[in-house]
Subunit: 224 residues, 2 copies
């Protein structure tokens, strides 16, 4: 059982709470537990069995697809307060694709196990509706990612990514390899490498092993 | 009002029908009408006002996204019996992206107008749930399209497309320009042109203006 304060957080994020019967509330409370994932660990993949619904308390999850030859494309990220339904997609028949989910930081989350979620979703239309609605919100995220990948000029995409990273870490130094950046923005290392060289020649940034130092943020912003 | 037979078809496709009150059934019956679209016409776009929910009776719709510079990427197609909710996305807050919808053939459909759909969706959770569930099914289609575009070898993608077209028209002759094929599979005309030339040199097909004649279907299948 969760502590009272934790339960309050969970209830506040599950908009169907008020539509549950007392018995259903009991099922939920007895089947939700705290889980922790260390940075970099895989939480869900096409082969893994169905986990359940995750509610992120602290940390960050990254949801992505993986090609046969190992290329990754990031679909979206989840952070504190976000709910992950795709880790329970096995019981939602309308979802016929598989995603991978990694912890991008050390992450603490609440897990509603799959059998309890299945039971609640089957017997209460508000729970099912919550799941589908949440998935549709993620659909919107995926459409955004897809438009970025398919349509946006690559210099603009890379500039947005670098500015986001700077804002996230509140620093002009970005500790990521070209390989990692390529993975995060759904591109190839060679393409990232080429564009970073162009940015370097324009005096926007300097590169050293695994580190990018943005020296002219304004010039980077002009690319947007 | 629709004819009895038409109404039976509509009811059979709207799985929430049994969950409607008599008053709600009346709202639905009084606000559904027959619409026709001629081949090639645009039904919905980012600028157009919100249409409502469409149920395809005959014909085919194509749903796609459009870049600023006019590139199209097909997300999925809808045919007889399929329901189109994205043409009513304005009232579903979780959907924050815009799609374009064209009639790919002469199409007859039933249209539930947006105000009736909005009313029903707001007051009956089964209607809302139906909309979200339908959208999640389309999410699965989009993920499939996205994986095709991002991950699949281009020769395989083009082979699948040509085989699909042959199956659809039950003919070895495909009356499409390279431009049209590029549009349908989310690629560029030049890329399609190059691959068709390769297929031609391998004795798989012959090309003439706006027509592709597949002469070795088995060889094409070997690419899958």
């Amino acid at each position: 059982m969760l502590e009272k304060e934790e339960l309050t957080f969970v209830e506040s994020r599950l908009s169907f709470w008020g539509k549950l019967s007392d018995a259903e509330k009991n099922i939920l409370e007895n089947n939700i537990s705290k889980v922790t994932y260390s940075k970099g660990s895989n939480i869900h993949s096409a082969d893994s069995k169905c986990l359940g619904v995750l509610l992120v308390q602290h940390g960050a999850l990254r949801v992505y697809i993986l090609s046969e030859d190992g290329r990754e494309v990031t679909l979206y990220r989840l952070s504190s307060g976000d709910i992950c339904v795709l880790s329970a997609s096995c019981i939602l028949n309308s979802i016929t694709f598989d995603v991978h989910i990694d912890a991008e930081d050390d992450t603490e989350a609440f897990l509603l196990n799959i059998s309890a979620f299945s039971k609640l979703s089957n017997q209460n239309v508000y729970v099912e509706n919550f799941s589908y609605k949440n998935t549709v919100e993620r659909f919107s995220d995926v459409m955004w990612a897809m438009e970025q990948i398919l349509f946006m000029r690559f210099d603009k995409r890379l500039a947005i990514f670098l500015l986001d990273e700077m804002a996230k870490t509140n620093s002009s130094k970005i500790s990521l390899t070209q390989e990692q950046i390529a993975k995060y923005i759904g591109s190839a290392r060679e393409v990232v490498s080429r564009m970073l060289k162009i940015f370097q020649s324009q005096g926007i940034l300097e590169q050293s092993r695994g580190l990018i130092h943005v020296i002219d943020k304004e010039k980077l912003k002009e690319l947007l």
